[in-house]
Amino acid sequence: MLNVGQYIFLTSQVLAALQMLRLFTREKFVKISQENLTAACSFMVLSAYIFLTWKFVVSDFSYALIYKQSNTLKPLLYKITGLWANHEGSMLLFIFILSLYNFAYAVLSRFPRKEEVLGFQGALIFFLISYTFFTSDPFSPTQLLNGQLPQQGLGMNPLLQDIGLAFHPPILYTGFAGFSLAFSIAMVVLRNKLTDKSFAEFSRPWVLFSWSSLSLGVALGSWWAYRELGWGGFWFWDPVENVSLLPWLFGTALIHLNYTTKKFNRFTFVTLLFSILTFLTALLGFFLVRSGILTSVHSFASDPTRGLVMLGIVFVISSYAMILYGKCLTELKFIPEGRMDFISREFGILLQIVLLAGMGITIMRGIIYPLVLDMFFDTKISVGEPYFNLTFIPISFMFIFLAVFAPILKWQKERLSTVVKKSFPSFVVSAVITIYLRIKFPDNISPIITISIFLCLWLFLSCVGLTITRMVKREKISKSFVSMMMAHGAFGLLGLAITLNIAFAEDTERLMKPGDKINFGGYDFTLRSSSIRKDSNFIAQTAKFEVAKENSIIALYPENRIYFPSFTKTHEADVHYGVMEDIYINIGESERSPDAKHKKVKAAMEDNQQGGYNSAEYAFPSRIYIKPFMFFIWFSVLVMAFGGFIAMLPKKK
């Protein structure tokens, strides 16, 4: 017996199958246009999605997913976002977002072969629904215990009950799913052997939108890790983070390649390759984190059959794409328009693509190499920061160096003297600032940090300088110029903020009991008191810290929480966000203070038995971090993404 949710879900699958079949046969089956079929399919997916959300909100435990993942005590926001805090629900979310794209594409696009593109999109939806329905059905019913429905759900991983999680998956998926359109358009171009460059113009807005969303999504994930995991860091070279970085790198390459194809039909094969690879790496990422090959907070409960089916689907999609691409590589020929000089923007882009591909390969090697070692030599290694410091950083330095010249170079041909003339002022200014910093803070700034500061600063100042020059000279400032300056300048700022953050971050760990006061990083930290508070689904042991500098005092409340009903413990750091620096405090499990007298401890332990830790005899291992320039990291990603959004907007007529 199927339930309502499953009916709706399967109907949308049938509609997607019809959409896909139109790729291979002239038979229409139903007499409606491909666009309307897409709209109908999207509507059914939307219904399935809303249906499940509603069931989450009313906590209907007759659905296994809701029984396992939700709980009546959870706040409403986390009931809604709880839908995607697990494997099954997040697959539904991805399908939902993909179908929204299909609908938007059906309505907005003017690509002549739109119907075929929608056919490929339908195929993707069809495969994803098949996978979800047969291996991880979000609508499957709860197994009844003695014929009774459970009264209460098991609850959700408390680490995921966070505002960062509420928005990280939808925005990240908006990025991943959007690249599917570039993929489908590339498929249509290859299948029909179109040698015309116009497809680039049609895929451009979707690629830009997806790239911007992906940037925001990755940054949100990083922000969540910063706030929730309590390590005081924001990027850990964790395999799952790396996997999300792959589509971002390839998407960055794709954005730039789209321009060369759009303008001159140049590097079109590379453009098509990256259109395919960007989406395939997004799928690969899905597979790697869902199959349990990479373990992290994203892996949920892993199940080998799921992994195999997912691998099968990714393999079918990618081998179809790759065979088609391989065939066209020998049969098709794109004729570039105009000529290209070595000192030109196109050539710069080509070099940049090589570097981006290099970074992608570096990351892939970091993922694949441990798997190979484990398989053939039975050795387990983990690839982490040292590997990436050695391999990734040199390439990214070259990348930033190239990015400095991108806005200066003209298409097709540019004089070397102009390049030197335009890049020289920012070179001098950033060199002076870097040398000043190096002399002023010799302990913090190592040679590699020096190079990084210099390059990032150069990129940032160069973009700012060029914009100011144009404004002063009252030259025309086009939309594409603004977006490029925002994206490139913000990238420089991002690099600068990360570098300075690494160089100037400070932290200390102390055992503090109420009343203790320490001076650190120019602030006075006082642990005032500790108390217990009860929320709807957790009990928290809260420490109150007062942070004082000169005349201003702020209070921070880091917590240890125990969530119900799973009794999972989490440590909630508390962060004071400042423009120049964040103050970040995390506390550990309270322990008996070492100098307390034995009798007093006993009294405190009785107190403990009654549910209160509120005793001066308990001390907290407290970790205090001063993290400079965190604000600029988030801010620059925001600006970068907005650069992408601006570039996406249609031209004024």
Partner: protein
Amino acid sequence: MKKYLQYIPFLAIFCLAVLLFVKVNGQGKDAGKSLTSGVFGSSPMVGRDMPDEVINTIFPAKGKIDNLTYRGKYTVVNLFASWCAACAYEHKFIKGLKGNSIQLIGISWRDKAEDSFSWLIKNGNPYDVVGNDSLGKYGIYLGITGIPETFVVSPEGKIIMHFAGPVGDAEVAQIKELVAKH
């Protein structure tokens, strides 16, 4: 030359797929063995030997725990401390494991021996042996992230189950079932 050039993109994908297939398929074999209530998926400790480290005991006084202690019978090793609230919560379930032809070993983790001792007097002592790990070293060898954590050890001294966090009725039933099967 150009003829076979066209298969290169496909071959690259194919090799990757074969590699990943072997990897995912291999995972299936261990899936039955690893049981854990940890939130981060299966425990890497399952399948490993208990540490060679020798520790003193709190109860009985002047005893030792080494890896011979685990030989010949099923053993449940539970790490606790007097300052740990969740340990007090799970204590009644741990008591439920007593008997059942299971050797029950408690390890007092990062706690003073006298505090653990008085805590056990107050709450009742289900353990056959209580080890003293006041420095937390044994816990490091066991790869724990916090307490309470519970390990089930086979008569060969291999870890066969690992629970992070307090155990409840379901976990106790799981342990009993596993021991009864053998």
